[in-house]
Amino acid sequence: MHNIWTLIQREYLERVRTRSFVIFTLLMPAVMAGSVLIPEKIEEMNSGGEKHIVIVANNPQLATAVGQELSASKAKTDLGLEAGTFKPTMYTIRVDGDTSDAENDRLRQQVSGGQITGFLWLTDRALAERKVTYNTKEAADFMQSGTIRSALRTAVTKQRLSQKGMNGPEIDALLTPIDLATIRIEKGREGTSGTTVFVTALAMVMLLYSVVLIYGIAVMRSVIEEKSTRILEVLLSAVTPKQLLAGKILGVGAVGLTQIVIWVTFAILFSVPGLLAARSFLGEVHIPVGGMIAFAIFFLLGYLLYSSMYAAIGSMVNTDHEAQQMQWPAMVPLVLGVVLMNSVIQHPDSPLAFWLSIVPFFAPILMLVRILVAQPPLWQIALCIALMMATVYGLLALASRIYRIGILMYGKRPTLPELRRWLRYAG
């Protein structure tokens, strides 16, 4: 025990103290926060200001109505979430009755010249063809075109309804939108909204996937380093290969766990104010405690499973280059799990999802997804965990046998029959 502890300590401290660990750990939340905050900031900077829009129509009444709807919509976006953070856009509307082609050309030049933001071609013909065009340089601004589209639709609908003889208040009442909220039922109680569930599940699975992959490979490289620096035999005079393997897997795993804890703490600190602010449209936000426990269990089992495979691979090769060619047995199932996740997330209770999710190699990703997005029966979760534990046990035993022989073998990488013989010696 004393020895394993010493090994874990070294493995942990030597990694956590490196500059690359500190940088990576701090940079990752910065990158994640940046990828959310920076576009938002740009949007915020672009919002507001004035937009000059020319509405070309045969019917000046309709054109005015569209203009009013636009001015009224202000910064109310389709998503409706960041309502508070945006400065309202001021619209300057000019109604133009000239629907000739020459006018069209002239307006195009004004758009190119920057005198106007854009013009809406709302002629009777365009309406009849149900194809109105909005010409602008900022065609990629989907928020902008969304605002104009909804203003146009509302104005046209209102006009048609009033032609049918409805009055203003009647029309407004009719047009009030109805919200659809998807609510997840957890144990008969109302849970989190569908969007939140999906986003949380995706984030957790990607976190698990990347940390298992990064630290599985770290275990492999560390085995290769010990082989190539020839320190292994020095260590073996004091500890057994099993202790060495255990110390390595646990020490590196502890580093991964540290990183996750730091990242999750960052994520909570960053997202709590946002979530509280967005409660209005996300619905009641629950901290997914069950999900976090599931994450912890499947992270640990998944890490043990894959890192023992990586350790065995590391002990069979001599260089990083060779290892890259050999790491597919560990890489393929992990990636396949992520690929299959898409269909499991949509039909979490299908028989296919069940069978895939109890395969120990896929379980860390697929069973976790099922737990996060649906409520698989407890026996399925228990069966899955039991299968994983058995597999982890078997793989560790296998890996430690390969490791025991492999670490003293230099030179040529073993063929499959040679590998079988290794397993026999180690017995």
Binding site: E14, V234, A238, Y410
Partner: protein, 299 residues
């Protein structure tokens, strides 16, 4: 007193290759023991079995009079032939780590590491990373690592291989010092001159067998004084002499190996009849000659 290391009929084979075949030997407490043999003779396999890195297929290993068990390993210091260090660890951290693995407390390991660094003139390097050190300095650290926990038995596999002359002298002085302190030392080598000067006992291994084993003096004595060095003027006429096994003639100086049972006095009388003899000396064979003789016989 029981032998510090005792091997009884150990065997080890890999696939169809027999590395060690029914090898027995005993190492006296406080002695310097040389494990000799050509490359691939089974020296490293034998050593690995002594410290439990490998388990013999057959036979038993006894350390300090007990059947091998890992609990005895803190009393053994091991310097493997393929030796290395973690390149990115700091020197002092590395020594403390290895000390802790040999059952020292961290405080004790740190204290001893600092003392050793002082002694090896490594103090100013103790906070540097291993990769920043020269190869010679790394070798010093490896020796220290093997001795840090003050083992009773020191096992070194080819310790002189790859050392520069200064470090080779340092290592030799070390071994002598350890011997004076009552430690038992086992080292393997294929360089005979070191063994001849340093060892009390030897085991000569070839193809996994012990060809010769025991006290170096006795082994030499058993070969008898069958070598003659002679300085002369004239022609002693040794070329076709029936007493001579082989001859190496330098003109007025000759080295002669006598046939088994031949009398050196008879050779002297015969030579003196024909030439003026200015020096005549009877010698034991060198270990190298014994080695070549034995290995050649088995080849």
């Amino acid at each position: 007193m029981a032998d510090v290391v005792e091997l009884r009929g150990i065997c080890k084979s890999y696939d169809h290759f027999v590395a060690v075949d029914n090898l027995s030997l005993g190492i006296r407490a406080g002695s310097v023991y040389g494990l000799l043999g050509p490359n691939g003779a089974g020296k490293t396999s034998t050593i690995r079995m002594m410290i439990g890195i490998m388990v013999p297929d057959k036979g038993e290993v006894r350390l300090f009079g007990e059947l091998f068990q890992r609990g005895l390993l803190p009393r053994v210091g091991y310097l493997p032939e393929e030796r290395g260090l973690y390149k990115r660890m700091k020197v002092l951290d590395h020594l403390v780590f290895l000390g802790c693995l040999h059952n020292l407390s961290e405080v004790e390991a740190r204290k001893r590491s600092l003392a050793w660094c002082e002694r090896m003139q490594l103090s100013e390097w103790k906070d540097k990373k291993v990769e920043e050190l020269s190869k010679g300095m790394q070798q010093k650290i490896q020796f220290v690592a093997a001795l840090l926990h003050d083992p009773d038995l020191v096992i070194m596999d080819e310790p002189f291989a790859g050392l520069d002359p200064a470090n080779a002298v340092m290592l030799k002085d070390f071994l002598i010092e350890l011997k004076k302190a009552g430690k038992t030392i086992l080292f393997s080598t294929h360089r005979m001159d070191q063994v001849e000067r340093l060892c009390d006992s030897i085991c000569l291994i070839d193809h996994g067998h012990a060809v010769l084993e025991g006290d170096l003096g006795k082994i030499k004595a058993s070969y008898g004084k069958n070598h003659v060095q002679m300085q002369y003027e004239g022609d002693p006429g040794l070329e076709n002499c029936d007493l001579v096994q082989s001859i190496n003639n330098y003109g007025n100086y000759v080295e002669v190996r006598l046939k088994p049972g031949a009398d050196a006095q008879q050779l002297l009388r015969r030579s003196a009849d024909r030439a003026r003899i200015s020096r005549f000396e009877l010698l034991e064979p060198s270990l190298e000659e014994i080695f070549i003789d034995q290995v050649g016989k088995n080849a």
